[in-house]
Symmetry: none
Subunit: 191 residues, 4 copies
DNA sequence: TATGAATGAGGATTCATTCAT
DNA sequence: CATGAATGAATCCTCATTCAT
């Protein structure tokens, strides 16, 4: 989220660019670095220096959301009830994707251009795995699932909510929650 | 699937174009009418006359798959066990999406350009609804779900399988089936 | 105006095409033979066989108007007053151009593709010359003008009226008349 | 006529483009931005940035001619003899159109894309009106004419000269002058 | 002769990226 | 480092004309 140490003016530009990137990513539109530059009132080359590709910008935009997600996972791991921890975290994951299109894009991407993003995603996958593993060990989660299934499943839920016609962001978010609840019912092992 | 009655040579071109369209759609790539023309060894304008937009071609390519899906739904409705009917049909839907990228694209599209596609999708939604309704009436499916939820959920499952790294088409298909089974477990009402 | 002797069905097509050509020419739009074919519900090649180029069609459309103009010129030559004859004929020429865009196009064209049009235009130029010559001989028309000036001047008046913003065809025609009257005042030799 | 303040290299390109535009406009041909780019040895997009449409380029090319015309009109208004002022100015207007095809195009266009051109044309129409009004007040010009008639009439004269077959630019210019003289004779009120 | 599908060059425009200032 | 003009390949689409049926 924070740029490498930069001169003060460079840092200001960096922030302006990321801010605009966030706005454009939210529209779901494919980001064009030229547009970003124009809207941010910054030279194109400045954008290109900071973010060589649109993906780099998207990943940067997504970083805070992903970090917060990782923190929530770690907090969930400290709780007593494995199932509750898993469930609450997955709700957070869906909420993050619904709120922040950049997070959804990065979660669904087959690979990443920033090494920091790659690390973050590995961390996230590990945390997903631990949460799932705890629940499986407790006998409350389908043992057939693997850590690598969790992120894709979350992307699927978010995608389903995007496909489903809905009125407004709130409606879409509500659908996403419903769909996640159905899925969780399938993940949970019935006693 | 079949073109409007055409002259023999026109029909040959139509088929060549659709064939190429199917190949390109399978790659998941965004179809470019110019490429289609080149690969099909046909003039650009010929492609444009038959299919004014890429969407028109994709929908045409998807039509047989969607029709076959509709037939399977109708057959499923004739079975005795509501749950089995629903389950088998949803497996067919996932299989169709995994096999035929055009089907996946059309199912996930917010709207369609061919009136025939629109009708087909309405028919499909209706059949989805009937299958779901029968299962709900029998007390074996979550009553909170609506007919309009089914297609999005299927798109979500297919998307999840696409996001999940896998080796080969077979691996992806297997993942899709696993994910659908998890979801079905969530849809099914437990006695 | 009349086609060369044709089979009955060919003649019917010829008329349909010319009729559509007249409508399209009236819009002032550059005629496209393909559009003509579509609107006339006739094959493109049929249009091309009858009229190899748009100009051929335009000239054909203009022919009746030009012929009627020639007749009016000949009638004007039989009158007693040279000036009245010239004046009335020029009014007719302006009216023809205002009414029939094809006439205006042919009159302003540097050359023609149909030999019949070429002949008609030569005849018209000759008649222009005779009317002008009579008036000049009577001392009522500027002797500096030549027969070859008349058609261009008429085109100029029609063009001026087209440039001048006006409401509706009637307004444009009225402007054209006013402009012609001013010009005639300049042509007329004052006693 | 002058570009907005530009970087030195940008200004050089701007001038090259306008220069080529002037040459192509003189041919009377419909300007194609792509040709302009090629002939000016400049990227297409460079032309498009400076002049989004051919009209914008034509209007820019015409601007110096129109400005000079406006200056001549203002000078003509300072003279003692209203009729001489009007006459000389109209000769200048015809000469400008004959010399510079872009001027003719802009004068005849129903509307303009550059606001500067619109303003220039309004100014010109006002000056036309003042010159005409002075002559009418002095009883030497047809009171039926309005300011809005002057530009169209000048376009008509230029058009007539273009229609009239002539040898070389000089011949065409001579015809235009003759036609204007005839028209002026019609405009002038005879004592 | 009539048809209309086929052609593919041509035209307009955009966009990601580089580079001179 | 910052700027934004320049680039030109790439894309999308139309149209006049031909030719197979």
């Amino acid at each position: 989220m924070a740029p490498a140490p930069l001169r003060k003016d460079a840092a200001r530009n960096w922030h302006k660019i990321v801010e605009v990137g966030r706005r454009l990513a939210d529209d779901g539109a494919r980001i064009q670095l030229n547009d970003v530059a124009r809207i941010a009132s910054v030279g194109v080359a400045t954008v290109y220096r900071h973010f060589p590709t649109p993906e780099a910008l998207v990943e940067t935009v997504a970083t805070p959301g992903l970090q917060s997600l990782a923190q929530q996972a770690e907090r969930a791991l400290t709780g007593d009830d494995p199932w509750t921890g898993l469930r609450d975290f997955l709700h957070a994951a869906i909420s993050a994707q619904t709120t922040d299109a950049a997070v959804a894009a990065v979660l669904a991407a087959p690979q990443h251009v920033l090494s920091s993003t790659t690390e973050l995603m590995q961390q996230l996958t590990r945390l997903f795995g631990e949460l799932l593993g705890r629940a499986q060990a407790a006998g409350t989660a389908d043992p057939a699932l693997t850590p690598a299934d969790m992120a894709p499943l979350m992307c699927g839920v978010a995608f389903a909510a995007k496909v489903r016609p809905a009125t407004g962001a709130a409606g879409r978010a509500a659908n996403a929650r419903r769909y996640l609840d159905v899925l969780l019912e399938g993940v949970r092992t019935k006693g």
